[in-house]
């Protein structure tokens, strides 16, 4: 059944996937650079989903304001590398700062709220996300920090010395465009993130998260400092969001509070839920699916509607959101453990709790 059980097959599989991932941007570029950009955004979303998975999947804390950390990371990057304050720090300095600041916000939100029961936590995090967005929108006066709804533009792209990620150039006779360079950079960071996540899951902390998720009171009885461990999950998840935000800033070159609305938090949540909460590969799959399928629909449904009815009746954006909503509802109803369920989660979600209410 499991072809990956055989070590040789495993390596062949990995090599094939590696070749596919390496060649992907060029294949996509032949269909249009837009697709490479979509792939880059997809990687960012995988990154975000992995971060949220630490909070929701591993520790079982429903965070509905996750995008706030993404926003914090993005704004840290934008403020430290744009003409807005005339600061131009290199990205490898800013990304860790962004992660750290986001982590700080995670602790700031987590410390007072983690005592709360799960569903209260959900709504508090949701409020937190809104508060961050409202502040971003309004902190343009009396001191102009975030430039309000106009957002911050002309953000520096990633660069090593004179090697800038935003320009296309010819390397070894191959035309490499900016998005393709970013692709490799993001892919490298993503692989790192996946390794970190896999290691985390099986670490002492990871097992503590799982214990808390399954039964907090029992976990506490086993000597786990639940508040601290939960706070750690929040902080870790937040720093992932912060790094992803920084990368988003650099790739887009422009950010505004509009990019960090509640819907985005829910989008990331859908990705985690669709793939399978708590399973790193499932989350990757969920994020990739929910990033690409709506784009595919955009390119197929739109022309189809035009040819059938002569005009666009359903906006692609609406289709995308309906897809997210349906993913959340249908997955919970029919496959609550996700497309690729984690072993523990499967056990937990398939068996109804005994009537001990």
């Amino acid at each position: 059944m499991n072809i990956f059980a055989n070590p040789r097959a495993k390596w062949v599989g990995f090599t094939l996937i590696a070749i596919a991932l390496a060649g992907l941007p060029f294949a996509l570029a032949s269909a249009g650079t837009a697709w490479v950009r979509i792939a880059n955004l997809a990687i960012l979303f995988v990154f975000l989903s992995l971060g949220l998975n630490i909070v929701v999947g591993f520790a079982g804390l429903l965070d509905l304001g996750y995008i706030a950390f993404y926003a914090v990371g993005a704004y840290v990057y934008a403020l430290l590398a744009s003409p807005h304050f005339n600061l131009h720090l290199p990205f490898w300095v800013i990304l860790p700062i962004g992660a750290l600041v986001a982590c700080l916000f995670g602790v700031l939100l987590g410390a007072p709220t983690l005592k709360l029961r799960g569903d209260y936590l959900a709504i508090v995090t949701l409020g937190f996300g809104e508060i961050v967005r409202i502040f971003l929108n309004n902190l343009s006066q009396p001191v102009n920090i975030t430039n309000g709804p106009q957002g911050i533009s002309r953000i520096d792209p990633f660069s090593f010395g004179s090697f800038s990620f935003s320009q296309s150039e010819t390397i070894l006779g191959v035309d490499v465009s900016g998005p393709i360079k970013y692709y490799y950079m993001l892919l490298a960071l993503l692989l790192l993130a996946i390794v970190v996540n896999l290691r985390l899951q099986h670490s002492r902390i990871g097992r503590a998260w799982e214990a808390i998720r399954e039964d907090e009171i029992a976990a506490r009885a086993m000597g786990i400092d639940t508040t601290r461990i939960k706070l750690l999950a929040f902080a870790m998840g937040a720093s992932f969001g912060g790094i992803a935000g920084g990368m988003f800033s650099a790739i887009q070159g422009f950010i505004s509070p509009e990019s960090f609305v509640l819907v985005e938090s829910i989008m990331v949540l859908s990705m985690v839920v669709l793939g399978g909460m708590g399973n790193v590969w499932g989350v990757v799959l969920g994020a990739v699916l929910l990033s690409f399928v709506p784009e595919l629909l955009r390119y197929t449904v739109e022309p189809l509607q035009k040819s059938l009815f002569g005009r666009s009746i359903i906006e692609p954006e609406v289709i995308r959101m309906l897809l997210f909503g349906l993913a959340l509802v249908l997955m919970m109803l029919y496959r609550p453990a996700g497309l690729l369920p984690s072993a523990v989660r499967k056990r937990e979600l398939s068996k109804p709790e005994d009537g001990a209410e």
């Binding site: 799960g118 569903d119 709504i123 309906l322 909503g325 509802v329 919970m332 109804p352 009537g355 209410e357």
Partner: protein, 307 residues
């Protein structure tokens, strides 16, 4: 002084709307311990349906009160139907699932309702037609409009009716029994599924009326108006003590007043560093403060932490 009084009146108006919406949250929570995230969307749906009807009738020579009433009469059954269907499809199958599961479907339902509304009514807001003449009364330097009086009166009436329903009817007894212990209530011959359905239907009806009220107050209805309002109403329910009817009413009105006073005075208090554009933040600050310092709310009883 008159600013103070004016903000109190404005806060009272919005607060009574919050209270009505908060009742929906608190009833559902009290009975199945679920935060019905999609409840805010029912408010939006109520406003949109009512505005469509009101817009269609605005040209006729019917008296304005009848037109608004027709809107309400269309909105209430529509919302009740959606509320009923919502519970049946998305929450009932998950009643014994882990807590996270129905919470996630609730978010999904909320997204779906919002975007179905977007499909039906498009992105542009519906405006309330100018059919109600602007009536103003002066009280000690502050102005109260006819619409505000109508909103406050309607809310008080609905709260009274709900209280009677819950404390004076057989169905109310069944509801209270189910919220205390569903298993035992079932053993006593109460059809729990019916009671839960009924709770959703009543909550949805209240939400529909609230939608019409808030829409009339602001003059517009919009497909995305539900989520923020829903969140505020939920904060109100938590402030009063979730699961507690009187708490939801008190919490709603208090939250409305806090918000109005906050928005009115924050500029003066902070030397105009923060302006009234921070109005929406107050609800969340109240929510977080209550949850941290008194998680059971103002009128709630102390409940044990169940994970």
């Amino acid at each position: 002084m008159d600013i103070f009084l004016q903000q109190i009146i404005n806060g009272l108006t919005l607060g009574s709307v919050y209270a009505i919406v908060a009742l929906g949250y608190t009833m559902v929570y009290g009975i199945i311990q679920l935060i019905n995230f999609a409840h805010g969307e029912l408010v939006m749906l109520g406003a949109m349906v009512a505005f469509s009807v009101i817009g269609a009738l605005a040209g006729t020579s019917l008296p304005p009160v009848l037109i608004v009433l027709a809107g309400v009469l269309a909105a209430v059954p529509a919302c009740m139907l959606v509320g009923f269907a919502m519970e049946r499809i998305a929450y009932r199958p998950l009643r014994n699932a882990p807590r996270l599961a129905p919470l996630i479907t609730a978010i999904g339902i909320s997204i779906i309702l919002q975007h179905v509304a977007l499909l039906v009514w498009s992105r542009s807001p519906l405006a309330f037609p100018q059919i109600i003449p602007l009536v103003r009364y002066y009280i000690g330097g502050a102005i109260i409009t006819g619409v505000q009086i109508a909103i406050i009166l309607t809310s008080v009436l609905m709260m009274a009716a709900l209280t009677l329903l819950v404390y004076r009817t057989k169905l109310g007894i069944a509801m209270r029994a189910t919220s205390q212990n569903p298993q035992v209530a079932g053993l006593m011959g109460i059809d729990i599924n019916r009671v839960i359905s009924f709770t959703f239907i009543v909550g949805a009806g209240l939400a529909a009326v609230a939608g019409v009220m808030v829409g009339t107050y602001y003059g517009i209805a919009h497909y995305s108006m539900g989520s923020l309002l829903g969140m505020k109403a939920f904060s109100a329910a938590v402030l009063g003590g979730i699961g507690n009817l009187a708490g939801a009413m008190l919490g709603g009105i208090l939250l409305g007043i806090v918000e109005a006073l906050g928005a009115g005075y924050i500029g003066d208090l902070t030397n105009n560093v923060f302006g009234s554009n921070y109005q929406d933040v107050f609800a969340f600050i109240v929510l977080i403060a209550v949850l941290v310092f008194r998680p059971s709310g103002l009128l709630g009883e102390r409940v044990g932490d169940r994970a």
